[in-house]
Symmetry: D2
Subunit: 139 residues, 4 copies
């Protein structure tokens, strides 16, 4: 079952360091997924959810179930880019997040189009849990 | 335009080190894409293509255009896993590779289902090049 | 030959994400070196040096020659930490930077004590170059 | 207190992939520490110690306390290198390991000289434990 999407777009600025690049001179493709997770993490934090406390005290966490990305224009060393997160649908235990990466800001060139399906689980049993209500609060 | 698939399956063993894991105790999701690239790289090497020479001497390289993965069962620290590569279709300049990850060997549990579309390009201009013939040789 | 140290301390805040941690539940030791480089990069930027332009237009870059770290207290997932950079000595082509990592801010607990010796080189020949004057300007 | 060194040299071959390199075209400096840990892990495995079981069943693990590296000659994309581990001294709970990296094999050019001091600890309390006897067995 899928509910209506929240249209709120969350954007998180990222600087490209040497650690993010490879010998082709550009951002290493797998590292865009790290950038997406940083945006996702900060978006979840902006909802008032502290994932550090969740993991330590309640042994609950979010995990990526499916993810995909299309790489349109490569980012380079020292570029300023922005990674976004916007929930576009969800079920009881999972949510689908659109995660694009732009050059400089969300009006800049689109560098990478991503989608991430994440689940909320018990960290020990790996069993799915109902998503926290805070993810759906009015902003 | 898409041609017929080669059915040859290439498999590359990988050991999970601490560098590959995260604080949830399992392999960090983005690192499965590194594992897939190791298998892809070794599969290309097995075709007689030396990507080091290609990049250095001819300024040609393969880049990932699209990639996706579904994470079914998490690999853990110290696990022995195997990442595979099998070309399933191609155009003049791009190829689509099925890349699964299994526990221990290709008959083991399927941990991750991946797909990678790569292109062959000029490293300086980023323009597409015709795929090397060696990718299609009979094995 | 070693000159007098600049006493200016540069501090750069860093958030610990899952990508930075390992299955022991803490920051993976090698990733502290990435944190140090982020602080070093931002300190160099604060001097008015654009390493992206340097590499692209002049084929000059900074490289790490020696580095060491002592890990005193581990940082955890979701922690806010701060990485510092302070030049403590230099020669014509190299400089030694003290790079500590603290919990929350430079008055917080000392988590990691680091030292980095970097050189300024020609990216193609790998030959040493005289350090840019901007590194020694009055702030 | 320091005991006599074992002179046994353990060597582990490593292939340099794109994931290991950066936009300077060479191995990213912090990744040499990952290579050293792979060699250390395989050396410990060769002693009959299964770190996966240790962490999961006994909640015991090895952690890096201090580490340093001197970078002499850079490794490049696609290079075959070898990382070594040799215990050179130890106390009750810690051991010092010499970890060099060579081009192709231990008779090849020395690329990186490293030292790692590791401790054996309780993963939950972070308290030091007496080193496992297996680390000192005759080979």
């Amino acid at each position: 079952m899928t509910f209506e999407s929240s249209e709120t777009l969350f954007a998180w600025p990222i600087r490209v360091y040497y650690e993010d690049t490879d010998a082709q001179g550009l951002v290493y493709f797998a590292n865009y997924f790290k950038f997406m997770e940083r945006a996702r993490t900060e978006w979840i934090r902006s909802m008032g959810i502290d994932q550090g406390d969740l993991l330590k005290n309640e042994r609950r966490c979010f995990v990526v179930v499916d993810t995909s990305a299309s790489f349109l224009i490569p980012a380079k060393f020292n570029d300023e880019i922005v990674a976004t997160a916007r929930m576009i649908e969800h079920t009881r235990a999972t949510f689908l997040i659109e995660q694009n990466i732009y050059w400089q800001d969300v009006k800049g060139e689109l560098l990478c189009k991503g989608l991430t399906k994440a689940a909320y689980i018990d960290a020990d049993s790996q069993r799915p849990l109902r998503l926290p209500k805070a993810l759906f609060k009015e902003n």
